[in-house]
């Protein structure tokens, strides 16, 4: 016993500095990431101001009242539907774009030109969604926007890019592609750079052309990267950032633009329905986690490496 105590003393004497360094980050995680988890209980309780979470009375229907209420709430169902459909469209349009861009860049033999194109393509990633929505207002305005000015000059009628629901969805998705394709290509370019040049040389000797090499060497070479990123995207199918939808939406298109994160903000922080919106948030987090675990498991079954 004496010896054991002595040993941990020696151990601490050696390592205390490392623990001291970790102290602040761990306190941060406990306070800002773990302690709010106790508030999740509100989803199962009747929210009362000036009462601790543990004292609040349980909600009716075995605490499930607010989950049932959410699923009977038309606005919630609409937000859920929009979240899923916008994410699916994002995946369909946004996932291949950086891969295609990386393949195109890979065929450029002029180094300086390639680097300039990259710099320009990374630019949209550094713009905030407030700024991008401002750009959209300027570019797509019904008569004074650049795009509609061009369309009008060609003799066609203005397109309501931001005011009609269907057009808004298309604008939203394409703006997302515009914002992320360049940044997303970085990871694929790195993967392409890791492919052995000997493979290309051997293929050239065998008489393979540019597109054959792309199809039979480059694409298989970056397949693991593609799969991992696809899993992460699929796992996030019910996730919804806040900045992008909130900045892009406008009153005319709410029917297609309201997503779960903005629903929670409007009904919770603005509308003070804390129990209902905590229930919605919890539902979203749990489903997200489930999808992530599922898609990771699936990719391992298919013989690819998972994300952990």
């Amino acid at each position: 016993m004496e010896k054991k105590k002595n040993r941990s003393f020696i151990y601490l004497k050696k390592y205390w500095q490392l623990y001291l360094l970790l102290l602040l980050p761990m306190v941060y995680l406990l306070v800002f990431k773990y302690s709010p988890m106790s508030y999740i209980l509100i989803a199962f309780k009747e929210y009362k101001l000036n009462m601790s979470v543990f004292e609040m009375p349980w909600a009716a229907q075995n605490g499930m009242k607010y989950f049932i209420k959410a699923f009977k709430n038309r606005d919630f169902i609409v937000a859920l539907r929009n979240t899923i459909s916008l994410n699916l469209l994002d995946l369909i349009a946004g996932f291949p774009a950086p891969i295609i861009f990386a393949l195109i860049l890979n065929e450029i033999p002029f180094k300086k030109f390639k680097k300039t194109v990259q710099t320009v393509a990374y630019m949209p990633h550094f713009l905030s969604w407030v700024i991008i929505s401002g750009l959209c207002l300027q570019l797509f305005a019904p008569s004074s926007g650049l795009v509609n000015m061009v369309i009008n000059n060609l003799g066609f009628d203005s397109v309501p890019f931001l005011n009609s629901p269907n057009h808004w969805v298309a604008t939203y998705i394409l703006t997302g592609v515009w914002q992320s394709f360049g940044w997303g290509s970085i990871i694929y370019l790195a993967a392409i750079a890791g492919i052995s040049p000997e493979l290309y040389e051997a293929a050239s000797v065998d008489g393979a052309g540019r597109f054959k090499k792309m199809w039979h060497i480059t694409l298989p070479g970056i397949r693991p990267t593609i799969v991992v990123l696809l899993i992460m995207n699929l796992g996030n199918i019910l996730g919804s950032g806040f900045d992008r939808p909130f900045a892009m939406q406008n009153p005319l298109v709410m029917e297609v633009a309201e997503v779960l994160s903005t629903f929670v903000y409007k009904n919770g922080i603005k509308g003070l329905q804390f129990s209902l919106t905590t229930a919605v948030g919890l539902f979203q987090s749990v489903v997200c986690l489930f999808f992530l675990l599922l898609s990771n498991w699936l990719s391992r079954r298919l013989g690819e490496r998972g994300i952990w």
Binding site: L21, P25, I108, T119, S133, L137, F274
Partner: protein
């Protein structure tokens, strides 16, 4: 230059043209915006401004710069961004560094504690209620502290630290250097690239972020630039502003909005190209599986 012969060169040009097209799509919105901000309102009302300013004038910019509210928000956001970046970098480093020592007891516990937060977040409302309980609502601290450590960025830094040869710190330890000394004198100087990358990530995140201000702050004095911009673009609370700032004249309102957007974007556009080498390395490091 490629030395594969003429037939390959021909094909290359198709890709060059594709790239030029993609590049134009990226920059044309910004060029259009710049042209609008510099054009006079009569041309804007006539819808004749495309990519080149017409009736060149700086009225929109002088109006934006004359308004002390804009300048205030700009200075405040610069200050916030610098403080956030420094605090976050410190937090990231002191979290990543101890975790590279394989023989540290409870290292796995710490790692698990960190990883869980990546997959499960308490949610918007619980976070809001926490800020309320900590009395952080409407405090400028709420824009700094809650986001001062990104686990993703910590993992990037840790991967970088793993890449520094162990022999370096072992020989320093033999010479009697403490863990603090090793961090300050070996790891920090060797990690400039990853610090540059993460500084950019944190700075851009703070500069561009507005949702925390939207949710936690009602005192307009603490609004960061993006929040102000959001209100201007969406014509919120412009009723009293309209008269003084010329928002009522349609043409000038357009060029003013364009000028405000340029005003809040230019700082980042000036910085990011110089850090390209670093952030590419950073993104790639983040993708490396441990």
């Amino acid at each position: 230059m490629n030395v594969k012969g003429k037939s390959t060169q021909m094909g290359d040009w198709i890709f060059v043209i594709l790239c030029v097209f993609v590049g134009l799509i990226c920059v044309i919105p910004m060029i259009n915006l710049l042209a609008r901000s510099l054009s006079s309102s009569e041309y804007l009302v006539k819808h004749s401004v495309y990519l080149i300013p017409k009736g060149l004038n700086f009225e929109a910019y002088t109006t934006v710069l004359k308004d002390s509210k804009n300048i205030r928000a700009f200075v405040w956001t610069v200050f916030l961004t610098v403080v956030c970046t420094l605090v976050s970098l410190t937090m990231t480093a002191i979290c990543a560094y101890p975790l590279i020592f394989q023989d540290l007891k409870f290292r796995n516990t710490f790692n698990i504690l960190i990883t869980i937060t990546m997959f499960f977040n308490a949610g918007t409302i619980p976070n809001y209620l926490l800020m309320k309980q900590l009395n952080l609502l409407n405090s400028p601290l709420v824009l700094i502290v809650p986001a001062c450590l990104s686990v993703y960025n910590m993992i990037i830094m840790r991967s970088f630290f793993y890449g520094i040869p162990e022999s370096l710190r072992e020989s320093a330890q033999i010479d009697g250097a403490s863990y603090f000394t090793i961090l300050l004198n070996i790891y920090l100087p060797l990690s400039k690239p990853v610090f540059a990358t993460l500084a950019l990530f944190y700075a851009v995140g703070r500069w561009n972020g507005y949702s925390d201000a939207l949710m936690y702050i009602t005192n307009k004095d603490y609004y960061p630039l993006q929040m102000l911009l959001y209100n201007i673009l969406n014509n919120i609370n412009n009723v009293e502003v309209a008269a003084q700032e010329g928002f009522s004249t349609p043409g000038l309102a357009e060029s003013l909005k364009a000028a405000v957007v340029m005003f809040s974007t230019v700082p980042i556009l000036l910085i990011y190209p110089w850090l390209q080498k670093y952030f590419i390395a950073g993104v790639t490091l983040g993708a490396v599986k441990e």
